[in-house]
Amino acid sequence: MKEALQELYKYRGLLYMIAYRDIKVRYKQSIMGFLWAVLMPVLIVLSGVVVRFAYAMAAHAPLNMSDIAGVAVKSLPWAFLVSTIRFACLSLINNKELVTKIYFPKEIFPIAAMLASLFDLLVASGALVIFLVLLHTGWSSYLVWAPLLLLAIVLLAVGVGMIVAAASLYFRDVKFLVEVFLTFGIFFTPVFYDVSMFGDKGKWLLLNPVSPILDGFGACIAKQQAPNLPWLAYSLACSLLTLVGGYFFFKHLEPGFAESI
């Protein structure tokens, strides 16, 4: 275990290189470049506006600008999570040549998928700041929670990424299953809506470890409030558990990668 981590550290140069390659290729292939990073969040925000508009119509209330800001804030980490899992899932299969020909710790691939998506998140965050300023969203000292929330979602993304990467190498249909979960996951996660809308029943939604994180982002950036700390602690614990479990799962299967791909 300790040796494996030391080895990963030794190969960090390669990790950055693979992440750099993924970013470069992604931005080179699409003329859109920058647009690529903001496309998905923009689509999510637009969907959110439609959904929010429907709520407002049903409740005979005006469309609230701070709700739109909340959707925009939460759509970015969600897009990051989806993109990491999607790219990680294919990361081993798409690098078949490297998996079968050259030795290095293979968890580099899902981690690099996360780093590349993190870069997209960074680019999109720039756009988000402009958007929030236009919506006259204020800011508060509660922003200090944002890095912790980011850490939680990064750990979760890498953990899930490692599991789906290894599983999809052995079972070809895992990637379709993952796609289905990623597509419909947004309905079980508070992106378009807030957990508070459900009143007491909201806690059932918070059992999804992504929910308290997104809820927290919405709270500390869009609403200038503190995140729900007990639930955030629950999310962090789940993320850590997923990461450790995912890592062991990945490392357990790794010796067979070259033969099974």
Binding site: K28, I102, P255, E259
Partner: protein, 421 residues
């Protein structure tokens, strides 16, 4: 230095053949099916075979070990275990220092990146640090010989350029252990020469080299020792010349396609010059091939085909008794038959494998095949390259000087030499 660079101790590798569930859609019904029927996985589903059995060897620093064997003998598996891509099922393996493998030199390339970007990417994958690559960048580009295309995406490269760039990067890793597998078959002959020189350099620097090739000439030239693998087992390890001749004469090698039930078998093939059996020939020299057959049962019309393979096992010459206008022979049980081919070896410099096959015209099948029946080394003067020697000469060479107002063609001195020859 006599330190051990590679040590393999009793390494075994098992593969599973046959049905493997590679999708959940197949696996889940199979699992539930087993649950209800209490059926064990049948042995045929998980047919196992040993790709390597009890492989042990050592390579010292500064030493080159060649590995030869037929396809499927386990050579590639051995290299994959050495480069830690695969884990041995049993046994132990140690490599001291940085290992660099020329197994698939373009594996790390990405089609959409430029040559220069790929140098950095591939260099990192092969274990170089960024500063190390930066310091060697000019050398790498110069070695590849594609300076003008270095900022072009590699998807626009020809396959030769692609391979050359890959090799250039791999060749500039300073390894303690270098693994080479058949890469010399890429690129033109000039580039291959560069590669060989680079391998010599690596060897001189005190690194250990492990070399897998079908090219017996290079193995013989390059390696200090040679290992022969057959069906995953070590047949012999020793001096390259001895091991190569063992390989060439091993029955498995000769009767690759022969059916044991065939009534006519080849019993001996001898290649000789005017003085007797011989393996070194000059280009253009005459050679005689004596073939002897024995019939174990009555056989129909049989003809003898003699052919020559080059070092890549390409057929470069092929003739049969039938095509030379001789009746195919019919043999009774216990009969023997002998024939001798006379050929002129108009071959270029290199290793060639004279081979013999018996063909039964009546039942349209191959009765016996010795491939190769022998290995000969042909040496050609004048630096003739390729396969055939067409005995070239320059018989005319003239210059027309632009500065000369009369524009007269002037013969250079070579012309007279050519005419004399």
């Amino acid at each position: 230095m006599s330190d051990v660079a590679i040590r393999m101790e009793h390494v075994y590798k098992k593969f599973r053949k046959g049905e493997v569930y590679n999708s959940l859609r197949d696996l889940l019904p199979a699992l539930t099916g087993r649950m209800f029927q209490q059926q064990e996985l049948s042995k045929s589903d998980w047919r196992e075979f040993w790709a390597l059995q009890d492989l042990s060897f050592e390579v010292k620093q500064g030493e080159c070990l060649g590995i030869i064997g037929r396809n499927g003998a386990g050579k590639s598996t051995a290299l994959k275990i050495l480069s830690r891509i695969m884990k041995p099922t049993r046994g132990h393996m140690v490599v001291h220092g940085r290992l660099s493998a020329l197994i698939e030199v373009t594996a790390g390339f990405h089609q959409d990146l430029t040559g220069r970007e790929n140098i950095f990417l591939n260099g990192t994958i092969l274990g170089m640090s960024k500063s190390e690559i930066e310091s060697k960048l000019d050398q790498i580009i110069a070695f590849s010989g594609i300076e003008e295309f270095i900022d072009t995406p590699v998807k626009r490269y020809s396959s030769g350029m692609f391979a050359r760039l890959g090799f250039s990067v791999a060749a500039h890793v300073d390894p303690d252990v270098l693994i080479v597998d058949e890469v010399l078959s890429v690129g033109d002959s000039l580039f291959q020469q560069k590669c060989i020189e680079r391998m010599r350099e690596v060897l001189r620097s005190g690194a250990a080299v492990l070399f897998v090739s079908h090219n017996m000439k290079t193995i013989a030239e390059f390696c200090d020792r040679c290992l022969l693998l057959e069906k995953g087992r070590t047949v012999t390890i020793g001096s390259p010349q001895e091991v190569i001749s063992t390989y060439m004469q091993s029955p498995a090698n000769r009767q690759a396609t022969a059916d044991n039930t065939m009534p006519v078998r080849i019993t001996s093939v001898k290649v000789r010059d005017e003085h007797g059996e011989c393996i070194h020939f000059r280009s253009g020299q005459r050679a005689w091939i004596d073939v002897e057959l024995t019939a174990h049962a009555r056989s129909g019309r049989t003809s003898v085909t003699f052919y020559i393979l080059d070092n890549k096992f390409t057929n470069v010459f092929d003739i049969s008794t039938e095509r030379l206008g001789h009746e195919a022979v019919e043999l009774q049980e216990g009969d023997k038959y002998r024939c001798t081919f006379e050929v002129t070896l108009n071959l270029a410099d290199g290793t060639f494998h004279p081979s013999v096959v018996l063909y039964r015209y009546d039942i349209q099948t191959v009765s016996d095949r010795w491939e190769p029946a022998a290995t000969i080394y042909v040496s050609a003067k004048d630096g003739v390259r390729g396969i055939a020697n067409c005995f070239p000469q320059v018989v005319r060479q003239e210059i027309c000087k632009a500065s000369d107002s009369d524009a007269v063609w002037i013969s250079s001195s070579l012309t007279s030499q050519g005419q004399r020859g």
